[in-house]
């Protein structure tokens, strides 16, 4: 029996909305706490279930049963709406992300994405911008000048970092000639070149801007505990706080998914043409996608446990004075590479080799310099410290 595509769309939407928050609450929160713990020479939470797997459930129960406090003079309607506005755009953005190649179920080929619109990237950028409303309204509706300041700072940060994010994706657009995410993956398949290689700089800019977009360390000043202003979610407790939390982590997943799709080939297996690694093709594309997204979430957690945080003015300076000019220059470079050579992929291949070569050489030189400097420093240890 062939079911209408609309039926399958409904099934996929329900599955996404049901599983993604569950994964966030149960898997990502626990993974973050355990992995951060391991990096910090301690074990994370491991008492609630075997190895702590029920920690997410404990957190969920705690948040849901907490008293829902609304400040006395707050705007009740807006206070209620703000967390919703933070979560819904993040969940909606999941609609255009291709989780894997079309699979065969019964007699149908079911694509593993909810909708393949031909302006996929633009849709994503637009939808995540709506999430900023949740933060501003959350900060404003609490009737607390410190949350207002925190919310405004957070909103300024988010808006500023959308520009380099968009510009980085523009350079990918030059490579793929399409905004549709599925089309981007297919182009990477066709050219046998993941867009990470010619787009190395774009990837770095995109990921840094992505970390800033989700208010994560090292850009989490608006919600740091050691600051006076504890951010827009001061006055939220219980389910509403859980929604903000969920919105932030879902945005993390979105950024990772987009990075994987656009730069790392989405559901494609690595080394598809190396005969020795053909067994990798046995792993379904969706699993590859999940593995790659998992790697990015790990990178998020790794960043959080390593770096100190930027002060707000330094954060804005980084975004406006460094990331935007570099991303503009990157667009020019990619455009040159594409136009200079015949065909579309030759230029990209040359660019990949150029970027990789330059980066590897510079890295080796820097490491060598570091080793020599350390040797000189150790030889001088008993004397006074150099000024």
């Amino acid at each position: 029996m062939t079911l209408s595509p609309l039926f399958w769309t409904y099934v996929k939407v329900v599955l996404l909305v049901a599983t993604v928050p569950a994964i966030v609450g149960f898997v990502i929160v626990l993974a973050e706490r355990r992995i951060m713990g391991f990096m910090q020479a301690r074990l994370g939470p491991n008492r609630v279930g075997p190895q702590g797997v029920l920690q997410g459930l404990a957190d969920l129960v705690k948040l849901v049963t907490k008293e829902d406090i609304t400040p006395a003079k707050a705007e009740k309607a807006v206070h209620f709406l703000a967390p919703v506005l933070a979560v819904i755009p993040a969940l909606t953005a999941l609609a255009v992300i291709p989780f894997g190649p079309p699979v065969r179920i019964g007699k149908n080929m079911i694509p593993l994405w909810v909708a393949d619109i031909n302006i996929g990237l633009l849709f994503l950028l637009a939808i995540t911008s709506i999430g900023v409303y949740g933060i501003i309204l959350g900060g404003w509706s609490s009737n607390n000048k410190y949350s207002l300041l925190g919310g405004l700072r957070s909103a300024a940060q988010l808006v500023s970092y959308e520009v380099p994010m968009g510009l980085a994706l523009v350079s990918v657009l030059l490579m793929s000639r399409s905004l549709s995410l599925v089309e981007i993956v297919r182009r990477q398949e066709a050219t046998h070149l993941w867009f990470f290689f010619p787009g190395m700089i774009a990837f770095f800019i995109y990921f840094v801007a992505g970390v800033a977009e989700t208010n994560r360390n090292p850009f989490d000043l608006p919600e740091a505990e050691s600051e006076l202003v504890s951010g827009f979610n001061t006055e939220y407790s219980g389910v509403k706080f859980a929604f903000f939390f969920l919105g932030e982590y879902t945005a993390m997943i979105i950024i990772s998914c987009v990075a994987v799709t656009v730069f790392f080939g989405g559901w494609l297996q690595p080394f598809p043409h190396v005969k020795a690694l053909q067994f990798l093709g046995l792993v379904p594309g969706a699993v590859w996608f999940l593995l790659k997204v998992g790697g990015f979430i790990f990178a998020y957690i790794w960043f959080r446990s390593t770096f100190p945080r930027y002060r707000f003015d330094q954060l804005m300076a980084l975004g406006w004075k460094w990331l935007i000019p570099i991303s503009l220059a990157n667009i020019l470079v990619v455009a040159f590479a594409i136009l200079l050579f015949p065909g579309r992929t030759t230029g990209l291949v040359w660019l990949s080799w150029a970027f990789s070569g330059v980066f590897v050489v510079m890295y080796l030189l820097a490491k060598l310099r570091q080793k020599l400097a350390k040797r000189d420093r150790l030889a001088a240890v008993p004397q006074t410290v150099e000024s």
Partner: protein, 160 residues
């Protein structure tokens, strides 16, 4: 020199070094002792819970004098024993554990050998739900810990 610094900055070397430190620690052995299933063995000089030996005590009250916070309360009276000589009999030997700072000065002041009041070296778990009742130790509780239910003698040793 400027070129080298620029090289470091451009290749994000400092950030990668930082990431490598945390990355390495991800795989190192963890030193966490998971209390209460595993407990650390206190050393042989650890200042733990009090014990009193009533027979050895000569009621000189030096411990009460030496205590920096005056939490030892001693009362004694004279009695004639069988030989007809005056003998000190202990009425009250109370230690107010709420305020004790376990400085061991009372044990140092005690002149008997072996000491009549001493801090045991392994027992430290004496948490109680009410302060005034459980944390005020009278002579019964000091001599025999079974009278003081909140004091848990040290038993389990799995990781030292």
């Amino acid at each position: 020199m400027a070129l080298k610094k620029w090289l470091d900055k451009l290749t994000l070397l400092d950030l990668f070094d930082g990431l490598s430190v945390t990355g390495r620690h991800l795989f190192k052995k963890k030193v966490t002792i998971e209390y209460p299933e595993q407990k650390k063995l206190p050393s042989d000089r650890f200042r733990g819970m009090f014990r009193l030996d009533e027979e050895r005590c000569i009621k000189c009250t030096l411990c009460a004098i030496e205590c920096p916070i005056n939490i030892i309360y001693i009362d004694w009276h004279n009695e004639k024993n069988e030989a007809g000589k005056n003998e000190k009999v202990l009425d009250r030997f109370d230690v107010d554990l709420k305020r004790c700072m376990f400085c061991q000065l009372c044990e140092e002041a005690c002149p008997t050998v072996p000491k009549s009041i001493w801090l045991t070296t392994k027992t430290y778990e004496m948490a109680a739900y009410d302060r005034n009742e459980s944390l005020y130790l009278d002579i019964r509780k000091l001599t025999d810990w079974r009278e003081a239910p909140n004091v848990k003698p040290f038993t389990v040793v799995e990781r030292g």
